[in-house]
Symmetry: C2
Subunit: 430 residues, 2 copies
């Protein structure tokens, strides 16, 4: 028996449309996992005429009362942003028992405690995974998995724009200005990048994360921040020479029971887990004496990624029963096992061969006959024998093994060939 | 009003004692988060006489009936290991409504579906975070946060022993045999390392992870595996030369709806997120088109770490109400904000100085007077001015800023000094 859970959405931009798409796509999983069916009952929009794939025009409204005043709505998804009137609307919803999922970091970093208190009073739930690091489930991990882990430090790369800019400055020696322009061209930075490059975005996220990690009130005004806009390229280069990597870091620590939170450009040793977080990725490193260091890494932005976090919160509120769901899914082998050799992969091959002219030609012709092609080859003579190391282009494993079997039968091949899977395309990193 | 939740423990070795310790230490947090008080009611042990800190002798028993037959016990924590009679005991408990938390990967990889079905039938819960990667909350993330994320691939370094050995082979050029002996000396490998180095341990974990990620039955017998014991040092070195890193990987993928899972030594490009997972760390990389790549990294073993995962599962079963807990914790500023400048850190300092004899001596004497000491110094002349870059030992920020202020006042210092936080001790990585 399946009960219908009715959703009201405030806003329907990129994230909102992503939510609609995911809810459609995963309706079956959601129903099996929660026992409930989701229905998007009403969506607050500015323009009733704009095309919104997957949504009936009948659910659109420009009047927020159609959502706040409808007590058949079980969960409100807030993806409109802004502090006011959003705060007032959400307080009202939470206060009379409607649970809320929001992606609004500025609102939470300013009024999170007030909203949580309203939820407590109204017997509703407030969830906000999407407000920090998109689909990286750092809030759920802190609120639930590590609730009793006595976290002592939260260190994070929580802004993707600045991480992209710093990674490019380091990788290609670009100036800050050029890297920023490139980030803007690629859509990693906005036309007015102040909020990102100045550190304000990261400060809001660190206020939220440190509140949850340390179980105490931290608001955005408690978080001093500086950005990467005043950074000198020279310092990035010198730090690199010395073995450090420049990152815009959120650093939150318990110091003798007091809370210290800040955002600033900082240097990370090259072998530190945060040093290798490249591109526009985000990562949060959580430390406690109980769990040592746990790091969560992934894309910190993106419409679908953020929408996925929203949907995850909706499932938490609906009370998914993961055990029951798994019991059902594992009752039989729902999916077949893939036939052996079907997986496609790049490969490393090492051959010890007789050092005769034409061996490489014969080896590559045998591979070619099996439709296996060579990406990289490394040949080294060692007296009368030679070593041939190849990286093979991606191909189904069965076909590659067959080809290697034929190589093993060649009289010039002196030992059993070594075959090792290579993750990715087989291209060596730059 | 606080209700008492009664715990029965099966086994009390390193992990069990860790659980007892954490439950004592975090009793207050647990009571606030769940509304319930935990009581360790009975503990099954082999030897009643051994000393077990934090446990009353009165709760110890050698008779499992004292636990299985006591219907006042709400949750059983299984940390005794082994497949039989553990399986039979847990089936019985789950079947008559007692929830179970277990760290037993071999049991789950063989009989997980049967145990989940028993829980479903008995209306109890089965949780097993500690069975894979200790405190890294990968199971909770897969079961809950990414339940509807349509995971397509799970790739993981899920065995710490082999990761330690491979990392050492790469770092120091050691042979496999030497690295294994070193791992044994340091307690990272057991006297009989077969289960770890042969890949069997990783295969059990991959069976569990892929079941949950792909919502289908995968048992250990479905997972072909090979280990690092037959690996040639030559291949590790050549791969490194080519820009790849050797890892013992669990690789699970959906291929046209079918499941492919295996464990094998594989090559990872040097800039891949898994490449930088060093030492005995574990990491799991989850991929889907919805969330792109999310990686969780941390220690994959350890008594306290594993115990922390067990406690986290107990909290999940007790039904912690993270919203209420946070609302309470954030109602006021429970912890003070640390006074500015109190945080201790290493620092990077860049000074542009006049290139005169004795400048470095004067700079270091000014720093010394403020009890700030220099770890590394880099001096470069550029015509009549010179650049002085220093890494300072860890010291309270306020004291360092004061010292830098005094440097700024020196007539030889030509520009405002640059001061940047350095994460860690300030030592450059090897």
């Amino acid at each position: 028996m399946s009960h219908v859970v009715r959703i009201g959405m405030l806003g329907c931009g990129t994230v909102g449309q992503g939510v609609v798409g995911i809810l459609h796509e995963t309706a079956g999983t959601i129903e099996r996992a929660t026992g409930h069916r989701l229905e998007i009952a009403k969506v607050l929009v500015r323009d009733l005429q704009a095309d919104r794939p997957g949504l009936d025009r009948g659910v659109l409204t420009t009047d927020v009362e159609d959502i706040l005043g409808d007590d058949r709505i079980d969960i409100i998804i807030e993806v409109m942003g802004g502090v006011e009137p959003t705060r007032e609307w959400l307080l009202r919803a939470l206060g009379h028992g409607t649970s809320v999922v929001t992606a609004n970091k500025q609102l939470l970093a300013r009024h999170g405690p007030e909203l949580l208190a309203a939820a407590e009073e109204g017997g509703s739930e407030l969830r906000f995974e999407a407000s920090v690091c998109a689909a990286i489930p750092v809030i759920k991990v802190l609120r639930e998995a590590l609730l009793a882990a006595e976290i002592e430090s939260v260190m994070g790369i929580v802004n993707g724009t600045t991480n992209y800019i710093l990674s490019e400055m380091r990788r290609s020696g670009m100036s800050y200005g050029d890297a920023l322009r490139q980030a803007q061209d690629l859509g990693y930075a906005e036309a007015d990048p102040t909020e990102d490059v100045g550190g304000g975005d990261a400060a809001a996220k660190m206020a939220i994360l440190s509140s949850i990690a340390f179980h105490t009130r931290v608001l955005i005004d408690d978080v001093p921040y500086s950005g990467i806009d005043a950074l000198q390229s020279d310092d990035v280069d010198i730090a690199h020479e010395l073995g450090f990597v420049m990152k815009l870091l959120g650093i939150a620590r318990l110091v003798d029971g007091a809370v210290s939170v800040r955002v600033e450009p900082a240097l990370v040793p090259g072998d530190h887990p945060l040093a290798s977080v490249g591109g526009a990725d985000n990562a949060v490193l959580l430390e406690s004496s109980m769990v040592r260091q746990i790091m969560l890494e992934g894309p910190g932005a993106g419409g679908t990624e953020t929408a996925s976090a929203v949907v995850s919160d909706v499932l938490s509120i609906m009370g998914s029963r993961p055990g029951s769901f798994l019991a059902g899914a594992l009752a039989d082998a729902g999916r077949p096992m893939a036939p052996e050799g079907s997986l496609e992969s790049a490969f490393y091959v090492r051959l010890e061969v007789a050092d005769q002219p034409g061996v490489l030609a014969r080896v590559s012709s045998v591979l070619g006959e099996s439709d296996v092609s060579i990406l990289t080859v490394l040949q080294r003579g060692e007296g009368e024998s030679a070593r041939l190391v190849m990286i093979l282009h991606r191909a189904p494993e069965g076909r590659v093994r067959q080809a290697i079997g034929r190589l093993a039968d060649m009289p010039e091949v002196r030992e059993q060939p070594v075959l090792i899977t290579v993750v990715g395309s087989g291209e060596a990193p730059r």
